[in-house]
Amino acid sequence: MRRATFVAALTLLACGLSPSAAQTPPAAQAPPAAKPVQPEDLAREWFIRLNELDDWYISFDGKEENSAVVDRFVDLYAEGAHHQVGPSETQIGAVLFSGKDAIRKWASDFSRKYTALNYRVEYKTKKEEPIQPIYVTVFPWGGTGASTQFEAIYTNREDRRQFVVPAAVFFIFDEAGKIQNLRLYILQNEAAEIA
């Protein structure tokens, strides 16, 4: 018994230390599959970059240096994307921005119009558990969608008045995770000024 154990140990040792064993490359492993981009993560990233649109400065010679945050926001969109928002003081009815250049114009105007941006997904709470739900769908033709209710909190840059407004956003993402279509609803009739 003792001899058998010794022989077995010797054999194992020999196998482990043999040059051929030492040089054997580890079994080729397939690279881990890239984790598919989750639409809720894409939607949350949109909120992060939207809120960063106020994160810029005026140069000492009076230039509004917002291009970096605007570019970062527009990078979330696919070429030829559509971005639709509600009416403004200069236009009646919904306003559709098509293509990155048009969306960049919207983002730049938005970043220069508002400050202290805090757009946040609305909490739902039950059984003492709060969550910020983002509703997700997978399209049969590829790509995903996401939507959520949120609160738009912002301060007018010109007069420094602060508001909170209920809102909703609907995203369609392509398979690369870029926004193909976005519809933003801001219920200005329900806006409340924060004193």
Partner: protein, 136 residues
């Protein structure tokens, strides 16, 4: 050189000189000038040199016109209003100093710090290297 050539040359020279005068100074230069001049004004007020106080107050009035001009294109109401309030205050300080009313000058100077603090709170941000940036 014809007469019209002379007139054209003079016109161009006048336009260029206007452009040089109209050119704005960088905002940090203006603000540093404000800080230094306001410090001097307070010292001269303490020393009772009301002639110098009036001169400093008038300079600060002009400096805050530059501040107001900086913010006007952005229509940033609180900054524009702060610059105007500071200008008005320094106008009053200069007037009091010219009338040799040191007490009234001191009273008007004492309220100006609050205007500075309010505007800096909204529009000035210190960076890690202790320099400042202008928030919109």
């Amino acid at each position: 050189m014809t007469r019209s050539d002379v007139l054209a040359t003079v016109a161009i020279a006048v336009m260029l000189s206007g452009a040089v005068v109209a050119q704005k100074r960088p905002y940090d230069v203006v603000m540093k000038d404000v800080g230094v001049t306001f410090g001097t004004l307070r010292k001269t007020l303490d020393s009772g040199d009301l002639v110098s106080v009036a001169a400093d107050a008038e300079k600060l009035e002009r400096l805050f016109k530059e501040v107001e001009d900086f913010w006007t294109p952005f229509k940033t109401k609180d900054a524009i209003d702060a610059a105007r309030r500071a200008r008005d205050a320094f106008t009053a300080v200069a007037a009091a100093a010219k009338e040799k009313d040191a007490q009234r000058a001191r009273t008007r100077v004492s309220g100006i710090g609050a205007i500075c603090t309010s505007c800096h709170g909204s529009h000035r941000e210190q960076t890690p290297d202790k320099t400042y940036r202008i928030k919109p």
